[in-house]
């Protein structure tokens, strides 16, 4: 069965620190990869997505993620976090070419950025 693992459940950083959140997926075929973010009291929103091409994708608010096929990984990075990045981050995959856009999510990572 397809699954997504996020190894960091809680991360606490100080402002200006660098961020890397791990994401590994389990699926034998081609996948589309996503990072979603949920800020306190808000809805889930898309940070970035990868379908094909350059494995380094850039998203909103200075976030980027790198797809490493050999490691089945899609880690999220940001060089310098801000207090406003405090949120919960979700990695998700969907099989390429499937009949539905069903997203398979990881358990989420709670990020707290201290001013």
């Amino acid at each position: 069965a397809q699954s997504v693992s996020q190894h960091n459940h809680h991360v606490i950083l100080s402002e200006a620190a660098s961020l890397e959140l791990g994401c590994n997926y389990s699926y034998g075929g081609t996948v589309n990869l996503f990072w979603y973010v949920q800020y306190p009291g808000q809805h889930l929103q898309l940070l970035l997505k990868y379908f094909s091409g350059d494995p380094l994708v850039k998203g909103i608010k200075g976030f980027e993620a790198e797809f490493i096929k050999s490691k089945f990984s899609f880690n999220l990075r940001k060089p310098s976090v801000q207090w406003s990045d405090t949120a919960e981050y979700f990695c998700a995959v969907t099989p390429y070419g499937g009949a539905t856009n069903k997203l398979i999510f990881g358990t989420g990572t709670l990020l707290a950025v201290q001013p």
């Binding site: 589309n32 009291g41 809805h43 390429y96 499937g98 856009n101 069903k102 358990t107």
Partner: protein, 119 residues
Amino acid sequence: EAGVTQFPSHSVIEKGQTVTLRCDPISGHDNLYWYRRVMGKEIKFLLHFVKESKQDESGMPNNRFLAERTGGTYSTLKVQPAELEDSGVYFCASSTHGTGGKIGWDTIYFGEGSWLTVV
């Protein structure tokens, strides 16, 4: 443009009662999804509508859950009778057209969720 709206935002009911959650997708979105997050767990897919038809309901936990999408507009998710393990956040999402794959995949927009607590 209005986003995906869900009602109620919070609901507390007793075990055995019935609850109906409503989702209004973004206008013009054919695809509507329901997801659920139980406390501490991942967000799990429940089902997918394309217009009024159920495209995929493989994630529905059991027959206590009934989802409908009348006329291909808003959707309801009814839980009857509710059990303690049904507590969680129920997310609705919508997208325009397309299915899996690069071509035709559209951004999925989520609502803020309906928090359900069964006591």
